[in-house]
Every structure is written in structure tokens, then in C-alpha cells.
Amino acid sequence: MSQRQVLQVFEQYQRARSQFAQAVADLAARPQSIDTLRSAGVVCLLRPLLLDVVPSIRQTTALALGRLADYDVEMAEAIVKAGILPQLICSLPEENRYYKKAAAFVLRAVAKHSPLLAQAVVQSGALEMLVICLEDFDPGVKEGASWGLGYIARHNPELSQAVVDAGAVPLLVLCIQEPEIALKRIAASTLSDISKHSPELAQTVVDAGAIAHLAQMIPNPDAKLKRQVLSALSQIAKHSVDLAELVVEAEIFPVVLTCLKDSDEYVKKNGATLIREIAKHTPELSQIIVNSGGVAAVIDCIGSSRGTVRLPGIMTLGYVAAHSENLSMAVIVSKGIPPLCLCLVEEHEDHIKAAAAWALGQIGRHTTEHARHVAVANVLPTLLDIFVDPRSSEDLRTKTKKALKNILQKCTYLPALEPLLHEAPPSIMKHIIGQFSKVLPHDNKARRLFVTTGGLKKVQEIKAEPGSLLQEYINTINNCYPEEIVRYYSPGYSEILLERVENYQPVL
């Protein structure tokens, strides 16, 4: 038998292995074939191929495993149970970049499903290897590793801490500075996932000097990168005043406003979120935002978008207005009320309406001037409609009630209060009547107007429990008018008059 024939056997075997791995990888990419693959015990068959002598077979196998794990939790669990992860990880540092990429893909696909699986990945020592991969020269490998770290870190603070302890953060910060957009994007997303859990983790990211680099990338034309960068910055800024100040000091301010005009919805949303996270901490930070024209940009953003993109913008306005009366006035001056009112009318989802109601309440609760501006914009009837509407959720109703109460308690603009008298439920009515009882004793014209518009009649029709606050208010109002008028408008007065006509003895 010649040498050639012997070698042919080996060659055939190798070709078959390679074909098998390739075919499984192709099949794993199709969702409909996964169940069949699972019942065929594909994981056990792929496992020995991970130790194959030929590098390309190893890579293809890893790729197939990655696709399987990517598909659903059960496959990922099966892969973890089969003990594939240690095999995959041990040989990683010696392998070429393609294999590293594929291995990182497997780890990522396993870790993404649940905290338990991510924990299993961490326990198999994947973090060290991923960090080594982050030091690789190939951007693709770095990308894969960074992505895997991000999927591990996003589950909970402990896993995130484990990623930080593995020393990934400085390398991720280096990755942000690489020229490849995709790598930057994923590194920024990973930093965002790490810093979202706790102030300490965010502080670690800040200590690695991430903020300056992230802030530099805000004007980048790539929308997806912008999304991640803004998200990372907002996750850092959300924890404490110090962190928010650090973010502001990176001079993000005029630049970040351009993101609110971006064509990409998520860039808008994340930009608004970043501004919200900064604004919510202190009046000073809010002041910075107002001075840089951020409020106008946010208001434009609210006006030009729909749905959840609006939500962070609405909340930004609420936070800014809540801090002080000047800031609230600045929001009013920036024409913030009409878009918010529009949100109340247009939006279908209750939580957005609730946010808008809350923001309006924060704007109107400072002084009579504020309340007047809010009332003039015809907000009160809208709020009342929402409050009365039986389809509104419980949360929305409490929020609108609070907002109404806040505004009404400061509102002395009677023409706006008049229409409410006819439709308000008792819980709101008491605040409205209270405002009338405060204003009418001191205002001559208003007293006259109150009678002519039928307010007094309405007040007489209200049934209040004797001794209650409402009754006191009503008495105060009644004391502003002569007795005949009050009696004239009381219900049942016509019957009394008729009775008198009947009883009257004509004098002849």
C-alpha cells in the first residue's frame, strides 16, 4: 500500500470533520433547524471538535456553538453543563485571532441570557481571558471581548464588580480611543453597562478617565456610537452630584444639544436622558442647563418627537422647574408649557401623560404668576379630564391630582378657574372654592363677574358637610354678597316665592 493511499484516509477524515463543523454552523444560523440539532445531541458532538488539530475546524466549531447558545437559554445551559467553557477558555491565549473572536462570541452568547449563566461564565475564568483578548491587536477580537464583558456586566452589580476587578475598565477606555467605530461603540456600551449599577462602579469608570474620551465623541457623525456614548455618560451622571458635575465639566454642553436635533430617535432619547440625569441633582446644574439654552432644545425635542422619546425631555423640564421659582419661570419663558400640554393630549401611554402632568405641576406650584401662566395655557381642564377619565391608571390619576392641587393652590386667575367649577369632582372642588374664597373678598370686579357667570349659583348647589373646610370656604364666599342675592341663587328659591304668591291675601 503506498504512502499516498494512507494519507488519503487522513485527508478524507479531515475533510469530513471540517464539513461537519461547517454544516452545523450553517444550520445553527437558522432558527427552524435548532430543535432538530438539539435532539441530535449536537453539543456533545461539537465538544471534541473544539480540541481538533486543525485551527479552522476549531474556529468553525466555536462559531457553531456560539450560534446555538445565541438562540435560546436552554442551548446555552446545555453548553455550560457540557463543560465546554473551560475547554474554550484554556486554549484561548495561544490561539489566533479568528478563534479568539469565535470564542468571545460563544461567551457572549452564553452570558447574555441570564445572571446565572453569566455567573457560570465568570466562574469558568472567562473574565481573565476576555481581558487578555482586550489587549489583542486585532480590533475584531477586542470588539468581541468588550461585547462579552458588557453582556456579563449588565446583569447585576456583583457581576459588574467582577468585570471591574478583572481590570477591564482601563482597557475599555483604551478601546474607546481606537479608530474603529464598531469597537468604540461596543466599548462605550460596555462602560455604560458597568457604570449603571452603583456609584462606586461609575466612579471606577470615571477614575479610568473615560469621561473625557466619551465627551469627545459626542459630535461623532455615527448615530449608533452617539447612542452608546450618551447612554454611558447618563449612566455615569445619574448616581451623584459629584459625578454629574464631572460630566458637565467635560464641556458637553453646547455639543450635546445637537444630539437633540439628530435624525436618529435613540440619539435624541439618550441625549435627553443625559440632560435629565444632570438636571435632577441640584439647582446649580439645572441653571447651567438653562443658561446654555438646553431647555429650549429639550422643548423643541419634545415638540418634534413622539412616544417614549419624549419622556426624558418631559422629565427634564419637570426636574428643572422643581428646583426653584426662577428656573421654573425660565421654563415658562422658553415656551415650555404648550408642548407639555400637547403631550397630555396626544400621547396614548399613561406613564408619559403622568410625567407631563407631574412636570406641569412642578412648573405651576411656585407662585401665583407661575400658576397663572399654566392656567392660561388651558392646562387645567385637560388635567381634570384625565383625572376624571375612568380609563386612566391609578398612578396617572394620583399624579394629575397632585399636579392640579399644586397649581390650584397658587392660582388666582379666576377666569381659568370658572369652567372647572362645573365639572370638578369634590376632591378638586375644595381647592377651587378655596381659591375663590381667598380672592373674592378683596376683588370687586371679580365678585360681580362671579355672579354673572353663574359661579355663585354653582356654589349654592354644592352640598358640603357642615363644619368641613369646604363649608367654611362657601360661607366666606356667601359673606361677600348681600343676603338676597345668596338666597336668590339658592336652589328651591322659586318654590318659596311661588308659595308666597299663593299665601298672599290680595288687598282690595
Binding site: L7, V53, Q59, P254, S263, V295, A296, M329, S334
Partner: protein
């Protein structure tokens, strides 16, 4: 005796008389005694009262003097205190008045300064207008860019389409579909077709072994970019008019193979221990195969050319050291079909010899 008898007669009366007298005396004495007691009582009482009156008078006198003395003693202090209190009250009142005015002024001027607030709000609204305007401009610019990009893309698409459909161009004999003889002027497409070149056949792309599976999945959509070789100039280029060099020279210069120095050739990262690491890893990984099975039937041809060493396989045996110059070239003696590659760093001066040009383009 008679006297005695008389006496005796009288004796009984006497006795009675005596008794009566004594009784009267007794009674009288009691009355007198009581009267005396009453008189004495009155008198003594008078005396005691007078004495008491005297005592109280004296006490009043003493007290009067004493109290007067005491008051006189503290009067000054009291007056001073009262005066002080009055003064303090007055000062407090005045202080309140000053503070009231000052605080009102201060707050109006610095804290709730209406004019400053108005100015600030005006400034905010102006600034907002500015920001809105700038952002609008920015958005417009972006939109324009997008539009331009779209246009360019469409144009490119159109041009590509024209190149693809170049065969529809009309010839002298037969008008093409876009050049209908019944129309006054040809279709714009016809003009485009005239301007564009026909597509050449696409080169067969050589598939790299890992290409499809490794760039298929989402992380890496494109293969890593390597430095592409310079664009190939056509070999039969005409010499352009003007003081240009001969095209052949230019070509030679352009495609001159790189001669890196030794340091550059050797990888920076291949220190001997590092080089040994992969082998160790392989040994660990391949526990089944003790020695890797290399020689597949086609392995020789593709990968390895066995080159026997010059010294051992020379026809004429070894040459003495120093008799052969490595710079000399004897193509006849080559065992393989190409020369050794010089691995020594080139000497710049020698390299330039015969290849450099003066500024005027003449060979030196």
C-alpha cells in the same frame, strides 16, 4: 341680874343681829370685791392698751424710718434700670426699623431683584432663540448632507446602470432603444450611455478559507483592512509632455521592492521564550497526537520547498571561509532558482548608486 336677864334676853336678838350684820357685811364685801376687780380690770386694760398703742406707734415710726431709708437707698438704682429699659426698647424699635428697611432693600436689590429677574428671563429667551436657530441650522445642514449623499448615491447607481446597459448604445447603423428615430432628440439615457464605459468582466475573487464564516456573524462585517498595494499603472504608459521622467524609470521606482532593515524584518514580539509558548500550548492541547501529523499528500507542494544547504550539497565541496564574497552574484551556481535574500541592513549610500537622480532628472 336683871341686866344679865336683859342681856340674856337680848342675847338671842343679838345673836341674830350679829348674824344678819355679818351676812350683810359678807354680801357687801363680795360686791365690793367684784367692783374692785372690775375697776382694776378696766384700769389695767387701759394701761396695757395705752402701752400697746405706744408700742405700735413706735414700731410704725421705726418701720417708717427704716423703709424710707431702704427706699431712699435703692431709688437711684431703680430709676436707672427703668431708664435703661426704656432706652433699650427704643433702640430695639429703631433697630427693627433699620433692619426692616435694609432687608427689604437688600432682598429687592440682590435676591428677588425684579429687574434682574426680568433681564435674566429676557436673556434666557434670547439665548433660547439663538440656540433654537443654531440647532435648526445644524439640523438643516445635516439634512442637506443626507440629501447630497442620497443624490450622489443615486447618481452613482445611475452611472453604474448605464455602464451595465452600455450595449444598448446606438451605433451608426442601428439606433438604440433610447435613440428612437421618431423623437426629436435622443433620450438623456442615450447621452449617459455615450459617456460611460462598458463594464469589464469581474475578476474571480479568490475565497480565503475562513472568509465566509468569520465575517458572516455580526461582530465583524468586514475583513480587517490591510495596506492595499499601490494602484497598478499601465505598463505601456506614454510619457506625458513636459519635463517628466521616462515611464519605465517611474515604474521601476514605483514598484521597487521594499528592503527593510533586519530590525524591521524581525517581529518585535518574537523573543525566544515567546516563540516557545505556542509550541507548549500546542503540546498541551494535543494530548492525543504526540507529534503532529504534517505530510499530507499535497503539503509538500504547497508549503515547503526543501532547500539543501549550500555547503553540504555543493558539487565542489566546501569553500574556504573568506574566499566567497556575498555581494558577488554567480547565477550559475545557484542551487534553487533564486538568489539568497540579503538580510543585512542595506547601506544607504550603496543603495543609491546608479539609481538616484539629480533634480533635473538626469542620472548622476
Amino acid at each position: 341680874m336683871a341686866a344679865l336677864a336683859r342681856l340674856q334676853e337680848r342675847l338671842a336678838g343679838l345673836r341674830e343681829e350679829y348674824f344678819l350684820t355679818n351676812r350683810a357685811i359678807d354680801e357687801d364685801r363680795i360686791i365690793k370685791y367684784k367692783a374692785a376687780v372690775r375697776i382694776q380690770r378696766w384700769f389695767r386694760a387701759c394701761r396695757v392698751r395705752a402701752y400697746l398703742r405706744y408700742l405700735s406707734k413706735m414700731a410704725t415710726l421705726i418701720q417708717k424710718w427704716w423703709r424710707g431709708y431702704l427706699r431712699r437707698k435703692s431709688f437711684k438704682e431703680i430709676v436707672e434700670r427703668a431708664y435703661f429699659i426704656k432706652k433699650e426698647k427704643f433702640y430695639n424699635e429703631m433697630a427693627v426699623r433699620i433692619q426692616k428697611t435694609w432687608r427689604g432693600y437688600y432682598v429687592r436689590k440682590y435676591i428677588h431683584n425684579f429687574y434682574a429677574l426680568k433681564k435674566y428671563l429676557d436673556a434666557v429667551s434670547v439665548n433660547n432663540e439663538l440656540v433654537r436657530y443654531e440647532l435648526q441650522e445644524f439640523a438643516d445642514m445635516k439634512e442637506n448632507e443626507e440629501k447630497m449623499k442620497d443624490l450622489e448615491k443615486k447618481e452613482k447607481e445611475k452611472k453604474y446602470q448605464a455602464r451595465k446597459m452600455h450595449y444598448l448604445l446606438s451605433t451608426k447603423q442601428i439606433p438604440g432603444v433610447y435613440n428612437s428615430p421618431f423623437r426629436k432628440s435622443p433620450d438623456p439615457m442615450e447621452l449617459l450611455l455615450q459617456q460611460s464605459k462598458p463594464l469589464t468582466h469581474r475578476k474571480q475573487q479568490v475565497k480565503s478559507p475562513f472568509a465566509d464564516e468569520l465575517y458572516g456573524w455580526p461582530t465583524c462585517k468586514e475583513p480587517p483592512g490591510f495596506v492595499a498595494s499601490l494602484p497598478v499603472l499601465p505598463a505601456d504608459r506614454q510619457k506625458p509632455q513636459g519635463p517628466f521622467r521616462d515611464p519605465a524609470e517611474v515604474l521601476q521606482q514605483r514598484y521597487k521592492p521594499m528592503e527593510p532593515t533586519l530590525r524591521v524584518r524581525e517581529s518585535m514580539y518574537s523573543s525566544p521564550p515567546k516563540a516557545r509558548v505556542p509550541t507548549r500550548g500546542e503540546e498541551w492541547r494535543d494530548p492525543i497526537h504526540d507529534n503532529q501529523f504534517l505530510p499530507f499528500s499535497s503539503y509538500h507542494k504547497n508549503h515547503e520547498k526543501y532547500e539543501p544547504s549550500l555547503f553540504t550539497s555543493g558539487k565542489y565541496g566546501q569553500e574556504a571561509y573568506g574566499t566567497k564574497y556575498f555581494r558577488e552574484v554567480y547565477p550559475k551556481k545557484w542551487v534553487a532558482d533564486k538568489d539568497f535574500e540579503t538580510l543585512f541592513s542595506s547601506i544607504a549610500l550603496f543603495e543609491k548608486f546608479g539609481k538616484t537622480y539629480s533634480s533635473t532628472g538626469q542620472i548622476l
